[in-house]
Each structure stands twice: as structure tokens, then as C-alpha cells.
């Protein structure tokens, strides 16, 4: 490896400074604040502050709503990841086989990524609105009474579809690039050896695609847990009866709407820890199975 030696000790720090300052101001400082706040009990205006130790965490642990939120988050994150990655892999394979119209399809499929989460949420809210939406009307024609305002499973289905749809473009691009990086000669050789398309996919393509899949797995889980706030806020607001109240939405609601800062901070600390653990697990165990 080639090492660049700076004669000036200050210069490298200076060059790093913008990034370091941003990281400090927007990531480390707020995180430290959240950790500090999670041990405090405070009224909304901050006029009375008491140190309460771990009480905020104990309350969370004893709260059925919080345990429900953990469960909802798990179901939600897994469903979004599986659905969006599965669909985009299918789409990428389909586009990869095309000869002439690849570019057109790629452009069309990447479009949804440019839609802001809140706007996407409103779109889905309109499409699935039980009173004025087109989908409940069509589903009503085939005898299904869609109502995500009352039915927990309908609500979960809605937020999963809306969130997964948003992520398909991103996954699709990476899968397509991954597929195109696999030398055609490998698949051709397997074909000459008599392997069918299914066998070729599982023995050649999928293993060679595993670095991309692994990367997308991490990105998608993080997306589902953090970036779906806008979709939830615009469609179900965590309802009905907390059926779609994922952890990040609960942090927002308890802190900003409910003004319970201690509990909200404790929840974000738990969330931080959870992401840390998930990332470590992914890199230590899953990555070993990935062939680069």
C-alpha cells in the first residue's frame, strides 16, 4: 500500500475538518445530548430537571406499547426488506436480459426514487383512502372491504407497500449493476454443461451477486427503521391502535407531540444501540458468507 507522507502535521486535520465538524455537530453532539437526556426527567419547558438514573429505560421495558412497537418494527423492517429486495431483483433480472430497451426501463424504474417520502405517503394515502381512494373501490368490487383506518393488517400492508415501493428503484440499480458485472462467459459455460436457467441463477448468478445483496440488506434494514418516518406520518400516523407505530415514529410522537423528552431520548438511545448491534452482527456473521 502506498502511504502519502504529509510534512505538515496540521494539513491533514485541516482537510478533514469540514467532514469532522459536520459529523460532530450533526451526529455526535445530538447523540450525546440524547444519552444525557435519557437519564433525566424534565418538564416541557425545561424549568425543572431531575436526574432519574435508569427510570426512563425501566418504564420502557415495562410498557406494553413499547414492546408492541419493537414487534411492529421487526415485522415492518423484515417485510419491507424482503418485498423491496425480492421485487427489485426480479426486475433487475428482467431488464438485464433485455437487449434494446434496457435504458428506457431503467429510467422508468428509477423514477420513484426521486419522490420525497412525504409526497409518496400522500400519494398512497389517496390511492388507498377508504372513502375516496381507487384501490378500496376496486377491492370492494372483488368483495374485499379495505379499511386501513380500522384494520391493523390493512394498515401494515399499506405502509409496507408504500415503503417498499420507494426503495425498489435504489435496489434495482444496484442489482442491475451487480448483474452486469457478472461475466456472461460463466453463465454460458454453465449452460454448455447443461444447467437450466434456475440452476444457473442459484449456482452462478446469486452467489456472485452476494456482495451487492449483502450491501443492500444493510441499507434496506436501516432504511426501513429510520427513513420511513415520512411515509408513516403521511398515511397511518402509527395507527390504528399502534399497529404501525414503528420505533422511530414513537420517538417523534412521544418527544415532539407528547413533550415527554426523557422517554423519547431513552427510546432513541435504545434505537441507536439496536442499529449498532444489527450492524455488528451483519458484518461479523453475514459477511463471512459473502464471496467477494
Amino acid at each position: 500500500m502506498k502511504r502519502t507522507i504529509f510534512s505538515n502535521q496540521l494539513l491533514p486535520w485541516l482537510l478533514l475538518a469540514p467532514q469532522l465538524i459536520i459529523t460532530f455537530v450533526f451526529f455526535l453532539w445530538p447523540a450525546a445530548q440524547a444519552i444525557r437526556q435519557s437519564f433525566l426527567r424534565e418538564d416541557a419547558f425545561g424549568t425543572r430537571t431531575t436526574f432519574v438514573g435508569l427510570e426512563n429505560f425501566v418504564r420502557l421495558w415495562n410498557s406494553p406499547e413499547y414492546l408492541n412497537s419493537l414487534q411492529v418494527t421487526a415485522v415492518f423492517a423484515i417485510s419491507v426488506t424482503v418485498l423491496s429486495m425480492g421485487l427489485s431483483l426480479l426486475l433487475a433480472i428482467a431488464v438485464d436480459r433485455m437487449i434494446r430497451s434496457t435504458r428506457v426501463y431503467t429510467t422508468l424504474l428509477v423514477w420513484p426514487y426521486a419522490v420525497a417520502p412525504a409526497v409518496a405517503g400522500i400519494l398512497w394515502w389517496f390511492i388507498f383512502n377508504p372513502t375516496i381512494g381507487i384501490m378500496p373501490y376496486l377491492l370492494g368490487q372483488i368483495g374485499y372491504d379495505w379499511n386501513h383506518i380500522q384494520s391493523k393488517s390493512d394498515a401494515m400492508t399499506l405502509v409496507v407497500i408504500a415503503s417498499a415501493w420507494k426503495q425498489i428503484s435504489y435496489n434495482f440499480l444496484f442489482f442491475l449493476a451487480g448483474l452486469q458485472a457478472i461475466p456472461a462467459s460463466l453463465r454460458e459455460a454453465a449452460a454448455i454443461d447443461g444447467a437450466g436457467p434456475v440452476r444457473r441463477f442459484f449456482d452462478i448468478t446469486f452467489p456472485l451477486l452476494s456482495p451487492t445483496t449483502f450491501f443492500l440488506l444493510v441499507v434496506n434494514i436501516v432504511y426501513a427503521m429510520f427513513d420511513t418516518f415520512g411515509v408513516i406520518d403521511a398515511t397511518t400516523e402509527g395507527g390504528p391502535a399502534q399497529a404501525t407505530n414503528i420505533m422511530v415514529y414513537k420517538v417523534y410522537f412521544d418527544g415532539f407531540v407528547g413533550q415527554n423528552l426523557g422517554s423519547s431520548a431513552a427510546q432513541s438511545v435504545v434505537l441507536m444501540a439496536l442499529v449498532l448491534v444489527l450492524t455488528v452482527i451483519q458484518f461479523r456473521y453475514v459477511e463471512k458468507k459473502v464471496a467477494y
Partner: protein, 437 residues
Amino acid sequence: MIRYSTASVVALVASLGAAQAETNIDWWHAMGGELGAKLEEIAQGFNDSQDEYRVTPSYKGTYPETMTAAIAAFRANQQPAIVQVFEVGTGTMMAADGAIVPVHQLMADHGQDFDAAAFLPSVVGYYTDGDGNMLSMPFNSSTPILYYNKTVFEAAGLDPETPPTTWAELEQFSNQIKESGAASCGFTTQWISWIQTENLSAWHNQPIGTLENGFGGLDARLSMNGPVQVKHWENLKRWSDEGIFKYGGPVGADNAAPMFYSQECAMMMGSSASRAGVIANSSAYELGYGMLPYYDDVEGAPQNSIIGGASLWVLSGKSDEEYAAAAAFFDYLTQPEVQADWASFTGYLPITQAAYDAMESFHAENPGADTGIRQITLNEPTENSKGLRFGSYVQIRGVIDEEFEQLLSGSKDAQGALDAVVARGDDLLEQFQAQNQ
């Protein structure tokens, strides 16, 4: 930091320059659209009426957003002098005694002529402490009333001029409407929490919580799982199953009004301040107004309904001149002409008796416009019907919605759902008490 000091130097120079500089105060509010434009007109009216003070309104988003913004600003020492806070934030504001300046004190300190008795008790009662002192200035207050579709009533063979007065009649009318095919649903409602729980309780003189619905102190707890509330929730569940009632969603129920406008539901219980909007969307049929229905076997019903909406709070940490400006503005705001103009334009309730009297001709020309005010003044408010005051109440309203949804989905019965409201709400109240003591 540099920018702040430059700005303050500029401000200082500017204020020295002008011999008689106006005192400028900020007013943060949550009124968008037409209401916001009307609000700016009021501020403009005040600014034009004198040259000592100037009020600058700024729109800060929804009610929760405005309140959150004001709290965050207070913590950063950048708070506005006046902020509009919705009624369920009252408990939080009131408990923050170091952060607010009570209105009665503000008016007394700045020599504004202020007579608490001039206000309508059922409006200001919500914002008054145990000793009868007014803590915030009511600004936009409304109360739920019944809207109904006269055209559908007629098609169903009902008298279009007679809205149901009791819940038994409402059920009977709804069944007749549904069976005749005039509409596919009898009624819907906005706000399960505000209308079908809190107002239902006040209307039947039932307590929502202990210690005079929380007016008595921070150790008050909820008690809205009484027999009347349980019976009503049970009925709503049954009516929902029978299809004569349709649930419009949590909080303010976004889907309720569209169901009424599209004539899917023949009746809707909603805020009196929605009147202008309902009229604008009801050109296809005749619109009627009524008071909320009641159970005639409950003694003392109907009592009086309670208000919702928002009031104006004065935050601490400002200068004397700024408070003088706020006091002068509040005095302007309570003038009968200003009140009557605001109330007749928006459908909100006037807050003083004089303003109510000034609206006589408006009420005569606009049938239904006085339904709300007649309803809140129907009887002298009791300790069960003057309002409610609990901390963390935004979250408690969320709990009410959630448990109602549990009831609708069949996973709990009415007693179980309301017991859960009380248990979960009390847990929040306990935390709130600990935070504020």
C-alpha cells in the same frame, strides 16, 4: 453569534434613531389558509389603531408544531411574547408556572381595564385557575354540534325540520334512513375523544377525571370509564357493526366530513367552527343543524357542552414594554366589534357577552350559526362540564383513539377499552406529575 450581535447593534441604532419607536412583539399561531388571513387582518387592525405597539403574527404550522416550536424557542431563550396553544395543551402550559405570565396578572400590571365577569363562563372557565383567575386569553373556541342532511331526511320519510334530540331517536332515524335506502349510513363523527368521550361526559354531567376534571391539581386522575361512557361506547360499537355508524379515523377524523359531503352518511357530529366548510361542500343538498343528542334516562342531561380550540398564552422572559404591548393587544382583541367580526367570519364562538349580543342580527340571518353558543350556555357549567385540565393530554387523546379502535376491531369490549384508557392515561398523568413537581 456574530450575526445576532450585528442584528442587535442594528436594532439598537435603529431604536435610538426613531424618537418614538414602536414596541414590536411576536405572535406565533397555528391558523393556516383563510383563518390565517383573517388573523393577520386582526393584527393589522390593532397595529393601525395605535402607533405605540406592533404585533407581528407568524404561522408556525399545526397546533402541536406551534406548541413544540414555542417550547423549543423558550428553551433557547428566543420565545415569542404570545403563542396560540390548543386546548389540550392547557395542562402543560399551566403547569409551567415559571414559563408563563397569567393573563389576569398581565392586564392588572399594565393598567388595562379588565373585567373577568364580562366573559362567557363556559368559554373562559376552560382557561381559569381554581381561584377564578384567567390564565390565558381564549381566542378561537368551538363546540361540537350535529350537522344533518335535510334532503336525505325527507327521502327517508322523516321530518327534515326535526333533527334527533336523543340517542334513541338518532338510532331510530338512522335505521329508517338506512332501510329506506336514502343513505347507506346514518351518522359519522369527528373526534372520538373530544366529541364522543369528553363532550359526551360533560353533556351528561359525568366526570372525565377526579378533582373537578383535573382543575383541582396535578394529582388528578382519569375516571371516564363510568357507566354512561361505557354504555355509549358499547352503542357506538353496535351501531358500527350494524352499519348505521361509520368511523372516520383517529384525532379529528379526516374521513368523517367526506362521508357526510358525499351523502354516504346522513348526519355528522363535528365542530361548530366547521360550519363554513360544511356549507361550502353542501351545495347538493339542504343542510340542517342540531344540538348533540343525549340519553334521556341520564339525570341532568343535557347539561352543557364544552369547548375546544385554542387560547393565547403570554410567555415569560420579556421586557415591560413588550408586556404592555401584549396587554394592549388583548384589550383590543376583546372589543365586541373585533370579537363579533372574528366569530361571524370563522364560526368560532364569541368570548364575551357583549360580543354575543353584537352578533344578534348575524345569528338571525344565519340559521344554525348560534347552535354552538346556545349549547355551551344551556346551563350553568358544573364541575363536570366546565372543561378538563390534564397534563400529557395530547397523548391521552391518542390513547382514547387507540382504545376505541381496539373496541371496533373486537379485541376489547367497551368496559375493557375505557378501563385501558384510564389505566394508560393515569400512567401518563403520573409521569407528568413527577415531571412538574
